[in-house]
Amino acid sequence: MKQIVELTINGDPQSLAVEGHRSLLDTLREEAGLTGTKKGCDVGDCGACTVIVDGQPVNACLMLAVEAQGRNVETVEGMQQSIDILHPLQDAFMRHGASQCGFCTPGILMMARKLIEENPDPSDDEIRFGLSGNICRCTGYTKIFDAVRSAAAEIRAVRAQEETV
């Protein structure tokens, strides 16, 4: 039996009819048409489905859609600042070669965004710890660390500039 779940996805209010057993991940991908969030394992081991719910990164595969009632869900599709302007992390991932096959990328971007928001100047160890629930099998992580460091520096520089203005 389906029930209506009202939630906000990337700023837009949505009503979705879902069955009680459906995961938030399947609902985003199959019902809301937001396929940027990936299914790498469906059991919380890989982090490819990381989305941000009410400000906290979670595995969308380990959450029921009905549990998102009234919540604010953010996915990779909402990450750009505008149609033309990428988030600094997205841009840094491109420049630094942090995305190869790209399957882990949306989840890692969401996790890294949260990491930088909480900690604008993360140490290498903090970046490693922050991304420890996201499997990347292509890059060896080196380029991902480069990209996160670079984006964090860019965001700090922009902020510093805004503060002086």
């Binding site: 009680g20 057993h21 469906d42 906290q56 595995n59 959450m63 996790m111 710890f129 629930g133």
Partner: protein
């Protein structure tokens, strides 16, 4: 995922009744980070999921120097991990939380859920047992309290009966001069199920140990207390020799099995190594 019916009770009484009425294939959903995995991997037949998240009164975290730390069944691992008070007062518990799966999982997983899952390798159990935590349980006949050390009856099994719901935990306040530590052994630094986990909490008087609790994870059907090893420490001045004896005693007290993660022999020898390291560190820790 296999289909199941979904329920959202508003009270403990309602939830408890649902669990009784729906029978053995009805399961409580708190964090869901184990439940959904077990459904998908076909480890558990689940006809009904009873979500207890809309039940009020289980989301609080309180600290009282006389009582200790109290938190409800819906408090997530990540909430506790990031509390400075927890990091300061219960570094063993904070470490266990930090080493549990991933941040994403800890944002959903509840500590009480991790306990009720009763995995012998669960990271949160050894430090909570070593610290003498008490679990609070709603039963159809009224509330019960039980030392966590008595809560587990086997792998995946607890003293909860059908209709019982664990509602919260109290970790007693540590004694003034005490040290506590949790050491986890795994092949990777994150996303690991413990091959062996050792928690040691000691009360001290200078370099003498006045009281000790040692809990061993993943080396028996439940997390074990190494009581004889604890007895060796009690009232004794800590020397390298004594530490070696305690490690050997803990090895003798554990009952590991061999599986894909490690052999029983290796697990036993890691109990020795980790116990020695933990006792030494707990004696040196300043809190």
């Amino acid at each position: 995922m296999r289909r199941f019916a979904y329920h959202e009770p508003k009270t403990l009484e309602e939830a408890s009744r649902l669990l009784v009425d729906l029978g053995e294939n009805a399961h409580v959903l708190a964090g869901g980070t184990d439940l959904f995995v077990e459904i998908r991997e076909r480890l558990r037949d689940v006809s009904d999921v009873v979500n207890i998240k809309n039940i009020p009164g289980m989301t609080d975290i309180t600290w009282d120097p006389a009582v200790g730390l109290t938190f409800g069944a819906l408090v997530t691992a990540r909430q506790l991990e990031t509390l400075p008070g927890v990091q300061r007062t219960y570094p063993n518990f904070a470490e266990a939380l930090r080493l549990l799966a991933s941040i994403q999982v800890r944002n959903r997983a509840t500590v009480v859920g991790n306990l009720c899952r009763a995995s012998p390798s669960a990271d949160t159990i050894p430090p909570l047992i070593a610290d003498g935590a008490i679990i609070h349980i709603y039963t159809p006949k009224g509330m019960r309290r039980m030392p966590l050390a008595e809560f587990f009856t086997g792998p995946g099994r607890t003293r909860l009966e059908r209709g019982d719901i664990a509602t919260g935990i109290v970790i007693p306040a540590p004694a003034p001069d005490s040290g506590r530590i949790y050491l986890k052994h795994g092949r990777r630094k994150a996303m690991e199920l413990a091959t062996v986990g050792v928690a040691v909490s000691l009360d001290r008087d200078g370099d003498t140990c006045t009281n000790a609790r040692i809990a061993l994870g993943a080396v028996g059907p439940t997390v074990l207390r190494a009581s004889a090893a604890e007895a060796l420490l009690k009232g004794r001045k800590i020397t390298d020799e004594l530490i070696a004896q305690v490690g050997a005693q803990a090895m003798a007290e554990c009952t590991p099995i061999s599986n894909v993660r490690a052999s029983a022999e290796y697990r036993r020898s890691m109990v020795g190594v980790l116990t020695r390291r933990a006792v030494k560190t707990a004696m040196e820790a300043t809190q």
